[in-house]
């Protein structure tokens, strides 16, 4: 082998450099436009740091006597998440089968399902809560319905992708030996997806806990209601207790569900 007679002057070709420079300028330019229109410069954060530290100071020390008020609402939050996740899981089973293109061979039905799901997933959870509070009145029930709709959107999307990725040979074998649709799904599809299915259900439970925390802001039950109320009363020490309790609960539930999911998949 003779020595290469061409030594590249730079690690990257000129074209890549040009593209990168242009994208960089575009990113930065858009950033400047956004900063100016929203009047938010990161530098302001440092200018107002005195303001922020002063406020953070008012959050301390947490008012631990408020914790007796928090407990019932916290339990309500957890109950809402449990009920909503359970119902959402049950409802999403048939829908995820309908939204998987290897089970639902009807192209039309499949596309309609996909379209509906995409729309559901773009609606923010808190807007769903606003609508259901208006329909069913203030309380946990509206929050549960909002969480169910929200969770179905996520769960069906994740599940239908898993179903589309399964090994189709067992289901062909069962069909070839005369199994009907239900038998095919039960003996060929379910065993392949069950671990992921449980794992995703736990994941959705985690998301629901977080979501149900904020639903209270619009009157849909749960701990968010307390935050809203205390902020309006400028009772920052109670707010910080609530936030700390939420933080602890979210961390503990994430940890438990993470451990369970590790054991599953």
């Amino acid at each position: 082998m003779n020595k290469p007679d061409f030594v590249p002057s730079s690690l990257y070709p000129a074209k890549t450099k040009r593209t990168l420079t242009l994208s960089f300028i575009a990113v930065l330019g858009f950033y400047l436009i956004s900063s100016i229109t929203t009047e938010s410069f990161i530098i302001n954060f440092f200018l107002k740091i005195g303001n922020i530290t002063e406020l953070v100071g008012r959050f301390f020390p947490p008012d631990w006597s408020y914790i007796t008020v928090i407990y019932p609402k916290l339990f309500e939050t957890i109950h809402m998440a449990v009920i909503a996740t359970t119902v959402a899981v049950i409802i999403s089973i048939p829908f995820s089968l309908l939204a998987a293109n290897n089970i639902t061979t009807n192209k039309w039905l499949y596309n309609v399902m996909r379209f509906i799901l995409n729309i559901i997933r773009t609606i923010p959870d808190i807007v769903l809560a606003v609508v259901f509070v208006a329909l069913f009145g203030i309380g946990a029930f509206s929050g549960i319905i909002a969480l169910i709709v929200f969770a179905i959107g996520i769960l069906v999307k994740l599940m239908s992708e898993i179903i589309e990725a399964i090994d189709m040979s067992p289901s062909e074998a069962i069909k070839a030996s005369g199994g009907n649709t239900i038998q095919t799904i039960w003996y060929a599809v379910v065993p392949q997806i069950l671990p992921q299915f449980i794992s995703f259900s736990l994941y959705v439970f985690e998301i629901n806990i977080r979501a149900s925390v904020v639903l209270g802001l619009v009157g849909a039950g749960g701990i968010g209601q307390l935050i809203n109320q205390r902020i309006n009363f400028l009772d920052y020490q109670a707010v910080s207790t609530t936030v700390l309790v939420i933080f602890a609960v979210v961390v503990v539930i994430d940890w438990i569900s993470g451990k369970l999911r590790e054991g599953l998949v």
């Binding site: 990113v27 929203t38 303001n51 406020l55 029930f141 902020i231």
Partner: protein
Amino acid sequence: MSNRIPPKPKSPAKVVKRIIIAIAVIALYVWTITSVNIDWGKIFSQRTIDNFDRIIPKFFDPAFGETGEILIKMVETIFIAYTGSLAAAIIAIPLAFLCATNMVRNKFLNTIGMWILGAVRAFPEIILAIIFVAAVGPNPFAGVLAIAIGSTGMLGKLYSEVIEGIDMHIIEAMEASGANKLQILFYGIMPQVLPEFLSYAIYRFEIDVRASSVLGIVGAGGIGTLIHFAYSNRNWDEVGMILLVIIVTVTIIDQISSFIRRRLV
């Protein structure tokens, strides 16, 4: 037919674990069902039916007259999301290096980094927004800060996973040929991680557009402000129009972002 499949070996520890999990789940459900308080009488009442009659038709008759004002706020929402996620994409890089076990060979620092990111992720954006609204006033800047802090947690975790997955041979080769730390960073690490960093940052921008569209409900700017006014005044046709704009915008941004991400990786 005697050629049965032999039964799966079962370890007693596993059986005990399963029983414990089963009991815990049943206990959770019993606790939930016995203590959740839902006033069924109020939900299945004439008032709910009236609400349905009053509200649902309005959603299918959105207030197209407000389109101009809503679009302006939607653009502001996108700007908030953009400014916030760009800031997060940059703040997350040093934290990610701190967490990556192949970069910082110090278990203690890794754990601290993980704790910071985990702590940030435990707070829902809207709670951060409430705190920042109290700190810097009800303006888009509060939204930007909430998005920036909220996104850092997820981006930092994803980034650190990317860094841990890089090919260390290149870095060893560079070290062996005498490159200094900065050269290794620019020629050894950056080319490997940048495409995925960008891809995750764009993905997070997608999520942030959804998140920032509700921040206005607590006063942090963007289209949420309009949602808040519309539902407080029971203008359901306006809520319908806002939802329509959100759905269309989010869908378009999702399409663009998934197109760019496919090109990147």
